[in-house]
């Protein structure tokens, strides 16, 4: 059964004020177009969970969509500070819940596996655990040693950007895999955005590459260039220049407001956004070609 719909429709249908949202992707495949659509539709009080809130949550926090962030590295990757989230935390206007990368990912693993918690080895660092009751210790019943445990994270909605999907949401992903699969399996609802919608025969030609199975997917949206200024391996490069530019833009609320007005509120969708970036940016972000060797699955 086809689950194809517009991104606008999918966001409207599956996201509600107050939801826990996981817009997935570790540096790679971050679904900015979905973040922008959520901003345009004016959602409030969201709990925004991501290992790295990245610019997508900086923008959503600046636009007033969030009441809380859940994170493990709150920086502008490779650049420095994530200024709007940081300012909101320092001003006391945004709640936060903090983990290390591994404990954040372990929470998704527990959520995705239907387990009550995930154990991790002790790291010796106790200051964060003292501030966050999510960290607990239990006795290993086999050795008697203490292990650290973290609770499951089960978002209401995960958004996962992929290279290609069929219309049921069976999706191929390559490049950095991050926490995509865990976020999808941990969440109640899954919205897949895809660079390309392909016939199911394409998916079936290479089942080892299917990261997300259609059976957990609620909506499939065709959104080329969804990830910009993040990237999609083999489709477009990371716009590092924009990550540097955002460091300047995000220094003042007025500049951020102007950015959102021009690039989010002022535009209907991602296609127009990409067009507005212009040919120079398109050219700069176009990757060269490097094909993998074909493999033989065998005809049985």
């Amino acid at each position: 059964m086809s689950k194809l719909m517009s991104l606008k429709e999918a966001i409207k249908k599956f996201i509600h004020d107050g939801d826990i949202l996981y817009a997935s992707g570790f540096t790679h495949l971050i679904p900015f177009a979905a973040g922008h659509e959520i901003i345009r539709q004016g959602f409030k009080d969201l709990v925004l969970a991501r290992a790295t809130p990245d610019l997508i949550y900086d923008q959503m926090v600046a636009a007033g969509c969030a009441r809380k962030v859940v994170f493990s590295y709150m920086g502008n990757p490779g650049v420095g500070s994530l200024r709007r989230v940081r300012a909101a935390i320092e001003a006391g206007t945004l709640a936060w819940e903090e983990y290390s990368h591994f404990s954040m990912i372990s929470r998704l693993q527990a959520g995705a596996s239907g387990l009550p918690f995930m154990p991790m080895k002790n790291t010796g660092a106790s200051d964060l655990a003292a501030q966050n009751p999510g960290y607990q210790r239990v006795k290993d019943p086999y050795t008697g040693e203490e292990v650290v445990v973290v609770p499951p994270l089960n978002p209401d909605v995960a958004i996962v950007h992929v290279q290609r999907s069929d219309n049921e949401g069976n999706a191929h992903v390559w490049g950095i895999l991050g926490e995509q699969r865990l976020a999808a399996f941990a969440s109640q609802h899954v919205i897949v955005t895809a660079e390309e919608i392909v016939d199911q025969s394409v998916i079936r030609s290479d089942p080892n590459r299917t990261l997300i199975p259609g059976l957990i997917v609620d909506a499939v949206c065709h959104v080329p260039y969804c990830a910009h200024p993040s990237y999609t391996q083999g489709y477009h490069d990371r716009d590092n220049q924009f990550y540097l530019d955002w460091d300047e833009i995000s220094k003042t609320e007025a500049n951020v407001r102007a950015y959102l007005d021009e690039w989010v509120y002022g535009l209907p969708d991602r296609a127009v956004f990409w067009e507005k970036l212009g040919p120079e940016v398109h050219e700069r972000l176009l990757p060269g070609v490097k094909l993998s060797e074909p493999i033989n699955y065998g005809d049985y």
């Binding site: 570790f26 990757p77 490779g78 290390s100 404990s103 002790n122 790291t123 950095i176």
Partner: protein, 255 residues
Amino acid sequence: MTEEYFYNPTELMVVNAARLLRDGDVVFVGVGIPNLACNLAMRTHAPNLQMIYEAGVIGAQPSRLPLSIGDPTLVTGSLSICSMYDIFTFYLQRGNVDVGFLGGAQIDQFGNINATVIGDYQSPKVRLPGSGGSMEIAAWANRCYIITPHQKRRFPAKVDFQTSIGFLSGGDARKKTGVRGAGPEAVVTNLGLLQPNEEGELVLTAMHPGVTFEQVQENTGWQLKKSPGWTVTEPPNQEELRILREELDPSGIYI
């Protein structure tokens, strides 16, 4: 006599960090200076070094300098890609990582690192990015290196917040936690090298050419001890500088 070349403080740190790496090391790499140090080591004395990244990349061969830790250039031509859960469990927690690189806003007398907050956690004066992968890297990599400019505010006697551990309060405090890694082996700065003594206290073991002990002490927030066998580092040589400037960072992004 060694011929001398002009070099800047960053080049000095990269070269000295690179020299600490051993051939065959599996290194959990960060962007920026650690990435340069690994690539320099691979092109000099450690051709079999393997770079792995927390994004889930094993055996990366980046053809350009990545700005972020998840750059697509790390993927193309790498040996393997796995999920973040796999990289932190199969590789790091299981004990398959030799070297971790760490950084932070503060490093204290016992090599503990603060990358989380200046001031009170609940009402932060300056909110920093937080742990990322560093809490586990510091605990579980066989050994760790810290690279940072040498400034007094970066080297307090005690960090405001322990994001990741060195030797805690010293002595056998780290050992008692049961973490598998041996902890920080060296802190490389623009002035020299600090390394833990038997008590886990960071002491000065080497100074770069032309640096005085007084200069290092002035930039350190505790009464710094000088190791009895302290040395002066070899200045960066022509080949190291050539590789850095011509091959690794020709646009001068980091150096």
